[in-house]
């Protein structure tokens, strides 16, 4: 005995009956409902029933978070080293060092969480392969983490008592942290760029710059939120936000189908939001802060907050775009559009 469907489904099916009757009256022809419109055949024009050719990235959400944390930590190490050398602000150097060290501790934890168990991270250190950005990155991270923690601890020691050798060691470890930090903040762009995912490898020349900018922006913003109001941090953030604005605009202007995920769908919306939050929004807030002395600290904080959220969203949007790109077989198969529904075009 079959039972009649109820509720939502019932209504849907009733509507469909109405629709069939209307179409039969109007055209004497009943087209398939929407969901069948995009069903494919297997052919030279469609590929294999529109099935994805590439595999989607299988990283967990820890990976974009790691990109964010690692980028900020690497940039913080740079700020610490340059601050130290230029003899500007002892407290700023100290906090930047700690930011680098904390990032250096959280980052491996995030990777381990993606891999499932600590021993799997150690397997990364079995070999060193120059041609694998994953290998280069893992070794860089280990070197960075050690140097960052060492320089933070040595820095504290130096503050408290004068032990011969400690100041020199502090400086050396600071510079080592900054150098590995530069790699840490940029290699992630190479990591995802040197893959088969079309939207990533298409952008391999801009990804490292994008990630570096967003890392620097995050580090400066976090230090500002910590209470530092040095002009240097404001300058760093202004320059980074300007570059973010330029990159956001560039992405908006590229309209090839490889880049569809950067402008459409969830990843497109995230990318646009990320671009606004880390580019024009903080830029405008900081400019306003320059005009009104009274509100300057509040505006700077708001700008910093917006930048941090924007930078996190940037990493997530790039990963999400990779997912969308892997799912679209048109690019690797070099098929002519339109194979997919163009409905999304109207969203923005």
């Amino acid at each position: 005995m079959s039972t009649s469907p109820r509720g939502e489904e019932r209504e849907q099916r009733e509507r469909r009956l109405e629709e069939i009757r209307r179409q039969a009256q109007e055209h004497a022809l009943i087209p398939f409902p929407d969901e069948h419109e995009n069903s494919f055949e297997a052919s030279a024009e469609n590929g294999y029933y529109g099935m994805p050719l590439l595999k989607r990235p299988q990283w967990t959400v820890e990976i974009p978070i790691y990109f964010f944390v690692g980028g900020a930590a690497g940039a913080a190490a740079l700020i610490a080293a340059v601050g130290e050398i230029s003899n500007k602000d002892r407290d700023l150097v100290r906090d930047a060092q700690w930011l680098a060290a904390i990032g250096g501790i959280i980052s491996p934890a995030l990777l381990i969480s993606d891999l499932g168990m600590p021993s799997r991270f150690l397997a990364m250190l079995r070999v060193f392969k120059v041609r694998s950005p994953m290998s280069v990155g893992s070794w860089t991270l280990v070197a960075f983490s050690n140097a960052a923690v060492a320089s933070a601890v040595l820095g504290e020691l130096r503050r408290r008592r004068s032990i011969p050798g400690v100041p020199v060691l502090t400086r050396v470890s600071q510079i080592a942290t900054a150098l590995t930090g530069l790699v840490l903040a940029t290699y992630t762009g190479v990591l995802i760029g040197a893959t088969a995912i079309p939207v990533w490898n298409e952008h391999i020349s801009s990804l490292p710059v994008h990630f570096a900018t967003s890392g620097l922006l995050t580090a400066a913003s976090i230090l500002e939120l910590k209470g530092h109001d040095s002009e240097a941090l404001n300058k760093i953030a202004m320059m980074a936000a300007t570059l973010e604005t330029v990159m956001g605009a560039t992405i908006e202007m590229r309209t090839t189908r490889v880049e569809e995920p950067l402008r459409h769908g969830i990843s497109g919306r995230a990318m646009r939001g990320a671009g606004l939050l880390s580019g024009p929004v903080p830029l405008a807030l900081r400019a306003l802060g320059m005009l009104s002395k009274k509100n300057k600290p509040t505006l700077r904080r708001a700008a910093a907050l917006s930048s941090i959220v924007g930078s996190m969203l940037t990493r997530w949007a790039w990963i999400k775009a990779g997912h969308a790109s892997a799912e679209d077989p048109r690019v690797p198969l070099q098929l002519e559009p339109p194979a997919r529904s163009q409905k999304d075009e109207s969203l923005f």
Binding site: A42, L115, G116, K129, A194, I204
Partner: protein, 260 residues
Amino acid sequence: MSVTAFLTDSTLCIGCKACEVACKEWNQVSNDGLDWRGFSYDNTAALGHSTWRHVAFVENTAHPGQGGNAPEAFTWGMLSDVCKHCENAGCLEACPTGALVRTEFGGVYLQPDVCNGCAYCVVACPFGVVERNPAEGRAFKCTFCYDRQKDGLKPACATACPTESIKFGDIEDLREEAVRRMNHLHSAGFRDVHLYDPQHTSVGGVHAFFITRGDPRAYNLPPNPEVPTSYLRKGWISAGIAAGLMLAGTLFAFYGSNHE
């Protein structure tokens, strides 16, 4: 011990999936359900961590004299897809642990006891072959039956194939065989057969080539697969520029602001 290859010939495939079954049984690959995918007689849809041979079903319109018992019917194009065992393999280059290695037979072998599940090979394969098993975290793909080859045996799929659609042997012999077969098919009137063996791209040739009925793209075989290491140069140059910009910007910010 010679360098070996697969020649998979879709004109001989009868879609029985004996290769899929034999592969799963020999390699003890987990069951992944028997759901029809809604297109033709395919139930595995694509290669993955639990599917190392995938029989694709393409429905071609019939041409007179080329099968099909009625002009309005279609003919089957069936092809058993497999890891290509690339000459320049993206997965192998990307692997940070050394789990992926080149065997003495020229195949690309993933050592499951070394793999740490970083999933970088997954995005490095231009054919979408290797996949991380979400249940236990490591990546898996066709082993080219490395164990059987070491014992002088043919891979399980080639052994089980009842029509010799899957041929296995010395790579040079099979390349010659492929040309011979193509000539034969052409002279028999099959004008829509293609030999798929991407030697013209950075992948530099494969150890699993195919004769397809119809355009290879209908079977999701990419016309110009590239090994992702070919983008590395550009990437590291850009990383260098990015690092330079960071350094220059930070130096400028600190030395350019003197009012402390």
